[in-house]
């Protein structure tokens, strides 16, 4: 039997759609565990990234270099470490997920704002915009595609990591995976994994559509003609 047949059998078996640990319940829980950290990370990282990108200079370079260092942090290890020290509280899963979601958003926001053509910046100051006006009316709109890309990368990453968080007792789709691994049943393991994949791809599609909708018209066409 292949991965898909195991998964499909399990997902379509009606017993799994009822009760307190049902598929819909865990899907919703998973979305909740992903959305909240993403939101918090966005609120922190977007303004910070915009400020850093606007400033430019050496700070921006440092931030870019920190990116790679961040990617080396093993999410499983971090989660487990916090579980050991904080027990099974909300902070245990919220903190690492927020911390891991911040870098892609921060870096992309900084890169997006820093990448605004210098001539455009000079013109924005030259026509008499205040710093705030320049940031909000010119730099941020131009940086929107990259900011959304950062959000998308972060969102996918958070969905993936929330799966692992089930290992330390969280709910969500990871619950099916780890319970199944523990009881040697491949059905829920495969089913849970497939559902996670669906969710992640859904998030991808959602953000792609959102990017299309929110990118200022002039930039969208420009990107298309360049490609």
């Amino acid at each position: 039997m292949s991965f898909f047949s195991y998964a499909w059998d399990w997902i379509t078996s009606s017993a799994n759609w009822h009760g307190s640990d049902s598929i819909p319940h865990q899907v919703l829980a998973h979305i909740g565990y992903s959305a909240l950290p993403l939101l918090i990370a966005a609120v922190i990282a977007i303004p910070a990234g915009v400020a850093i990108g606007h400033r430019g200079g050496r700070l921006a370079n440092v931030v870019i270099n920190v990116a790679n260092a961040w990617r080396s942090i093993p999410t499983l290890g971090l989660l487990i470490l916090l579980a050991v020290f904080l027990g099974f509280s909300a902070l245990t899963w919220l903190l690492p997920l927020v911390v891991l979601a911040i870098p892609p958003i921060l870096i992309n926001a900084a890169a997006g704002v820093a990448g605004v053509d210098p001539g455009v910046r000079d013109a924005a100051t030259g026509v008499g915009m205040t710093t705030w006006q320049q940031i909000l009316r010119v730099e941020v709109p131009i940086a929107v595609p990259l900011i959304l890309l950062g959000l998308r990368t972060s969102a996918i990453f958070v969905v993936a990591t929330a799966t692992i968080a089930a290992y330390i007792g969280l709910g969500g789709l990871g619950r099916f995976i780890f319970d199944g691994l523990a009881s040697n049943e491949y059905g829920p393991v495969a089913g849970g994994a497939l559902l996670v994949v669906f969710l992640a791809v859904l998030v991808l599609v959602l953000f792609t559509v959102l990017t299309r909708l929110l990118t200022p018209a002039g930039l969208r066409q420009q990107a298309e003609t360049e490609n």
Binding site: G119, V120, A123, G128, A217, G218, L219
Partner: protein, 384 residues
């Protein structure tokens, strides 16, 4: 009116970009700052709208020290055009042009209507209003940049190498547009360029900078050509400044000879009777060709001139409007060595030989030498 009083810009690493600059830009005139790279012309320009702050000295705008004004508000009253245009890529053309009015609180509809007016003023097709900058050509983008600078009707316009990034044909067209705009609007314009030809073409006053921010000569373009103050200026202005200066001398003073001009219906015999080495044949008053006397001599006297094979006219010049330079050019291009002068309707008035041109040029040289002496006196004091 813009006044620089002993303005200096010194950078932390010691470079002096502008050195105790004193400059007065008269209201309603175009002042061109020209010079080699790194001479401080762009820095000086950018100090006017406080994009760069002077290390020492004061800049006055209509009598007020610009340091006392809020920078953002100051800039909204000054139009700013740069080489790379700096058009906002995420906004349509009309919204780009409407930027400052909207910043000043105008309702968007009114601002867009104003943008429409300006598009017509700078020669942009109105159907481009809803397009985006990347869809326009370089020349069109520059026009948008100028329109954006003029939107709030500022009294002052700053232009930093605005036409350097486009090809020569487009550049000439944009320069002409600027001249006609200025004739209509009479703004105080400060324009920076490294191209001396552009400076001479568009400037009412030209400030030629030396390296490191000092002015070598400040004069109307004609004076710069006629009476450069030293070798540096003469070199910068270029080797054929004598001929170029002739473009400032009107051709109206030229003596014209109507003798060689004959209609196509006239006969060879009449042409030979005129006793000129070359005959200018006209048809309905317009110049058609040159015929030389030797060819005429070999033909029967009754032949109409229209049937004689003729050399092309080359180029003619307009006696009332063109300069001595255009007349000289016409003479050089003519197979007869004589320039054909026409009036505003293209009707031949007469011809000018090299002798007549020489006389006119020498008269102009004479006056230019007088001008140079005056300039020298102004610089050094009368001879002792």
């Amino acid at each position: 009116m813009i006044t620089f009083e002993a303005v200096t810009k010194r950078y932390p690493d010691g470079t002096v970009a502008v050195d105790a600059l004193d400059l007065e830009v008269p209201a309603g005139k175009t002042m061109v700052l020209v010079g080699p790279s790194g001479c401080g012309k762009t820095t000086s320009l950018r100090m006017i709208n406080r994009l760069v702050e002077p290390t020492q000295g004061t800049i006055l705008l209509d009598g007020t020290d610009i340091k006392e004004r809020n920078p953002a508000h100051l800039r909204r009253g000054i139009g700013y055009v740069i080489q790379q245009t700096g058009l906002f890529p995420h906004r349509t053309i009309e919204d780009n042009i409407a930027t400052v009015p909207v910043l000043n609180g105008w309702p968007r509809k009114k601002a867009r209507a104003r943008a429409s007016e300006l598009m017509a003023l700078v020669g942009l097709d109105s159907e481009l209003a809803k397009r985006y900058p990347h869809q326009l050509s370089g020349g069109q983008q520059q026009r948008v940049g100028v329109a954006r600078a003029l939107a709030a009707d500022p009294p002052v316009l700053l232009m930093d190498e605005p036409f350097s990034a486009v090809d020569p044909v487009v550049r000439a067209s944009l320069q002409d547009q600027l001249l006609s705009l200025q004739a209509e609007l009479r703004k105080t314009i400060v324009l920076v360029t490294h191209d001396i030809e552009e400076a001479i073409k568009v400037g009412d006053l030209v400030a030629l900078f030396r390296p490191h921010g000092k002015i070598a000569q400040l004069a109307p373009p004609e004076e710069l050509l006629a009476a450069p103050v030293d070798d540096y200026v003469a070199d910068f202005v270029g080797f054929d400044r004598g001929i170029r200066r002739l473009s400032f001398v009107p051709a109206a003073g030229l003596n014209l000879d109507a003798g060689p001009v004959l209609p196509a219906a006239a006969t060879v015999a009449e042409a030979l009777a005129a006793a000129r080495p070359w005959i200018c044949v006209t048809d309905a008053g317009r110049p058609v060709g040159w015929v030389d006397a030797t060819t005429l001599g070999a033909l029967p006297g009754g032949t109409p001139l229209g049937q004689v094979p003729a050399e092309p006219i080359g180029h003619s010049f307009t006696a009332g409007g063109d300069s001595l330079r255009a007349a000289l050019d016409a003479a050089v291009l003519s197979p007869a060595g004589q320039a054909v002068a026409v009036d505003g309707d293209g009707q031949v008035l007469g011809v000018a030989t090299f002798d007549q041109l020489r006389d006119a040029i020498q008269a102009a040289e004479g006056s230019s030498r007088r001008q140079a002496r005056q300039v020298q006196h102004a610089q050094q004091g009368p001879p002792t």
